[in-house]
């Protein structure tokens, strides 16, 4: 399985596959091949719970092709707990800002044709 396939399989289980640099310990999403801090290419897998709080988001009403049937929906950037990493995803069923204040607790619940799926916790 490629790294991306492994990432997707983890997302389907609500997890985030990350790569921890074995030289300096810096944590990256697993789609990165060289350490941003020290340039090392050696990583070990670290699987995080896809749980955190909404760092920012938008509610989309004019959507790209394939997404019109889901409007209105939110695109969210989730700040993961216990790490500096953020990850973005699709959140359905959001119509107004009152539905999703910044800071709302949320979690990854799957991966499909809408990419990473995030739901309120």
């Amino acid at each position: 399985m490629s790294v991306k396939e492994q990432f997707i399989e983890n997302a389907k289980d609500g997890k985030v596959l990350t790569h921890k640099c074995t030289s300096c310990g810096f944590l990256h999403l697993s789609t990165v091949y060289y350490c941003e801090k020290c340039g090392s290419k050696e990583f070990e897998d670290s699987i995080l719970d896809g749980v955190g709080s909404v760092a920012t988001y938008t509610i989309i009403t004019v959507a790209p092709a394939g997404f019109q049937k889901y409007t209105p929906y939110a695109f969210v950037i989730l700040q993961l707990d216990d790490s500096d990493l953020r990850i973005s995803g699709f959140m359905g069923g959001i119509a107004t800002p009152a539905d999703l204040p910044v800071g709302t607790r949320a979690k990854i619940t799957g991966f499909d044709e809408r990419g990473i799926i995030v739901e309120k916790q």
């Binding site: 760092a55 938008t58 989309i60 009403t61 889901y70 695109f75 990493l85 800002p97």
Partner: protein, 387 residues
Amino acid sequence: MRFVEKVCVLGAGSTKYGKLADSIGDITTQASVAAIDSAGIDPKEIKAAYISNVFGVADKQVHLGPVLMSNLGISDKPSLSIESACGSGSVAFREAFANVAAGFYDCLIVSGVEKVTHTGTDWTTTYFAYCSDFFYEGQAGASFPGLFASMARAYLTEFDATEEDFAKVAVKNHQNGLLNPKAHLQKDITIDDVMNSAVVASPLKLYDCCPFSDGASSVVLCSEKFAKAHGGDYVEVIGSGRGGSPAALQGRDHMTTIPSTKIAAEAAYNMAGITAKDVDFAEVHDCFTIAEVVDTEDLGFFGKGQGIQAIREDRTKLNSDISINPSGGLKSKGHPIGATGVGQVVEVFDQLTGKAGARTVKDAKIGLTHNFGATGASCAVHVFQSV
């Protein structure tokens, strides 16, 4: 950094921006001919062309360079196309700048173009989403307004700002655009118009967003020796900088700043030997109202979180503290994405050579262009000085 040659803009031209009927090849040629006429040169003096374009495939024409060169009667001259999303124009300009500065060529043409409006809003929205980090953003349903709306939401959360403040950016740029005969949206609007327009991606509404536009812009770039030998008006390029940011918003520690702008601006200011305070006016990348606020902070015109205060106090209007987007910006002038970065240089050329008419920035000596790709994943900043 030492260069072999000083670099100058000798001529500039644009089509009108908006919904255009002519083909992508035709509008590229029209803008190029206008730039050549403005420079007062013979096309045969052009040694090569740099073309900026993103979605040529949408108008059934990629490999635009040879089409342009054939139309200019110089089919033996080399050309290339550069794609860097909405920042393509400034990146093409930068590459042309570097080649003249290094002494490879004494005269080049840079032509930017986009032709997309015929594909309709749904498809243009879809194509533009391909400029994001698709795996994380476009695939999850993020549109471009959606990505900038995410920045706007973060700004509203972090600073003392309101949606009405953002609306004021649109009102200002439309006022400037009314003075620009080539602007796409020549319409006076009010804050209420913006606030009552349809929500595209909360908190951004239709009038917070630049339009999808067709259009082409072109400049003739040359060495100072070449410019002096021709005797016409020209403008000197005194600073050029580029920078990068994480491709996806999620990779950035702060959602209310664009790292590539800061990096590019610092490089351009250093090369020019100036600071942000020395800039008389700037054409900045206001694809959405939030973007202009963030840009004016990242370029160093205002402190972090102070850009919104500057808008509120009218400090960025035409002939105020610093004139931001005298052309009307992307918001009113329009945003044919491959042309935009070159079009900004056209505006600076017109301003610094006394051709900007009613929207002239008084006593301007130094102008700046700032243009980025996607959510600022790529960026170029240039500084120009009147001669």
